[in-house]
């Protein structure tokens, strides 16, 4: 007896292996994948019907001798085909398996062949009811068990003589239900793994496409910003100028600019656009162009920026604004006339007194209101006086402990390094900020511009 049970188990494992290999191979074919994608063609439907039809016939012949009865898995092919491909494919497969069984004859030939056809149809109806979504492993196994019970009932109803049918069903029903449920379990298991794999692959592809789009956007924003920064820094009589822009990964729309006003006058500006990315870069391009157009050849200061504000404000949708510091440097009189439109006040180091003065003036960021009035101030620059213009990317740079670089550190640095040339001081501030940040990512653009008064040159 022990020998026969072992033998039975071995045969069972063999059959299961056949089902697993079949499931694996069939589910990797292009036709099968197309069916899963609901891209039905004549070709892939014919393929499904023929291959699962053959599998159904295999089920008839490969019956396992179990407890003096034969358990076959003929209905498995139509059930699976119906669950995956819908009623048409299910019916086609059922017909192949069923008609083949019918011609094998025997007193149960009608009920057996009818049950096989119906197995395909019911599978297809479940497919319809679930709107084409696979029912999952437990559902498929339950369906197989119910279907085989129905198959047994059909035999009792149709097969004659009834007594013989009853004896057959009594011996064969448990092995049949078990064999089909087990076969369905393995097939459904392979299939749901495949479906999950495909879903993850799809999600991954979408995520990567999204990432790529974002990367392109960052690149575009960066290119817009860089193309609107000055190519070179002008050489001035009696003054030094230096500037630096370190864009963040997602650019913040900082800019600086030098605008020719007259032979002995130059406009300098530093600005920071609200927001990030492409919108900020575009708004920066707009603001820089508007300011430049208004300022070119026009020596007034407040008037120029107030007019620029009207144009920028008219174009400012969704609350975009730009904080901007604008000054006209008179090289002959050595004066700086400025307005501050909501920008971080630049720091002026006075060489004579070693004081630091923050260049504040009453104003508001451009784009916030249609009509603005800016306070215009003027100051004299003497030898060694140094103006440090910057954006909040400098003072709000954070380190790994989330502390900000802050105005105090910047002022201390200026106090310490005011003897450097403008170019060297820019580099010194940059390295101090970067050293402070350590490994913390740079969230905002860092922009610094230095104006240093040198020896007065008598013209």
């Amino acid at each position: 007896m022990a020998y026969t049970i072992l033998e039975l188990l071995l045969t069972l494992v063999e059959k299961i292996c056949v089902i697993l290999v079949f499931a694996y191979l069939v589910s990797r074919t292009t036709y099968f994948q197309e069916i899963l994608d609901k891209k039905f063609t004549l070709k892939n439907q014919a393929f499904m019907i023929l291959i699962f039809g053959a599998f159904s016939i295999f089920g008839t012949y490969s019956g396992i001798q179990m407890f003096d009865a034969i358990a076959h898995v003929r209905d498995l092919g139509p059930m699976i085909a119906g669950l995956i491909g819908g009623p048409v494919i299910g019916l086609g497969v059922g017909l192949i398996g069923g008609v083949h069984r019918y011609f094998l004859g025997g007193f149960t030939c009608l009920s057996c062949s009818l049950a096989t056809v119906l197995a395909g149809v019911f599978g297809g109806l479940i497919y319809k009811a679930r709107k084409g979504e696979f029912i999952g492993v437990p559902g498929a196994v339950a369906f197989a068990a119910l279907m085989e019970s129905f198959h047994m009932g059909l035999a009792l109803l149709l097969a004659r003589p009834f007594e013989e049918a009853l004896i057959l069903i009594e011996t064969v029903s448990v092995p049949m239900i078990f064999a089909n449920a087990a076969g369905m379990f393995f097939f459904a298991f392979v299939l749901s793994n495949l479906i999950r794999e495909r879903e993850t692959a799809e999600e991954r592809d979408q995520y990567q496409a999204e990432l790529e789009r974002k990367r392109q956007e960052l690149k575009i924003a960066h290119e817009i910003q860089q193309s609107f920064l000055p190519d070179a820094i002008p050489l001035l009589k009696g003054f030094e100028l230096a500037a630096l822009n370190l864009p963040a990964r997602e650019v913040g729309g900082d800019f600086y600019d030098f605008i020719p006003i007259a032979e002995d006058k130059i406009g300098v500006t530093i600005a920071d656009v609200s927001g990030k990315g492409v919108p900020a870069a575009l708004f920066m391009a707009l603001s820089r162009t508007v300011v430049r157009t208004n300022a070119r050849g026009n020596p007034s200061v407040a008037e120029v920026i107030e007019a620029a504000n009207s144009s920028i404000s008219a174009d400012s949708k969704s609350g975009m604004f730009v904080t901007l510091f604008y000054a006209v440097l008179n090289l002959k009189a050595r004066t700086l006339t400025y307005v501050n439109a909501g920008h971080n006040p630049p720091a002026l180091f006075r060489a004579l007194s070693s004081d630091i003065i923050m260049l504040k003036a009453r104003g508001i960021a451009l784009g916030a209101m249609d009509e603005i009035v800016l306070e215009e101030r003027m100051l004299q620059l003497d030898r060694g006086d140094t103006v440090v213009f910057y954006t909040d990317g400098v003072t709000e740079a954070v380190n790994e402990r989330e502390e900000q670089f802050g105005e105090e550190r910047l002022i201390a640095l200026i106090n310490e390094c005011h003897g450097l040339t403008a170019g060297a001081l820019v580099e010194r501030i940059k390295s101090a900020v970067l050293a402070f940040c350590g490994g913390a990512p740079q969230f905002d653009d860092i922009t610094v511009m230095i104006l240093k008064a040198g020896e007065a040159e008598d013209a």
Binding site: V273, S274, K276, F321, T323, P345, A368, F443
Partner: protein, 115 residues
């Protein structure tokens, strides 16, 4: 960023907490836009629990203010921390926004604005 919505008569209060930076600003913008789309034109934003605001945060507040004033409504700010107040101040936005020390005061003034 946590956003808590409260009713106070015809005024809606949005209490924000966390950092109002480029990333959380979108969330806040969505909440405010949602309120305005529902027909609410008087909004008080309580910034008591906001420790940091970036230019993106200012942009969202400005966009809301502009939209509400166009609808004859009002956006008032309440309980700004010194750092946040300074950011508004530097940009010149303290001239533009109605800012109050207490939420109740902001709600009363916001309800009465334009009437």
């Amino acid at each position: 960023m946590e956003i808590e919505e409260k009713d106070a008569g015809k005024v809606k209060i949005l209490a924000l907490s966390g950092r109002l930076d480029a990333y959380s600003s979108n969330e806040v913008e969505k909440s405010i836009t949602g309120l305005i789309d529902e027909g609410c034109v008087r909004i008080v934003v309580n910034l008591e629990e906001v420790e940091y605001i970036s230019s993106s945060g200012l942009r969202v507040m400005l966009a809301a203010l502009k939209r509400l004033r166009k609808l004859k409504g009002e956006l008032s700010l309440a309980c700004l921390r010194p750092y946040v107040k300074e950011v508004f101040d530097i940009a010149g936005f303290t001239q533009l926004f109605a800012i109050y020390d207490r939420e109740a005061e902001a709600v009363d003034r916001c309800a009465a604005a334009g009437e």
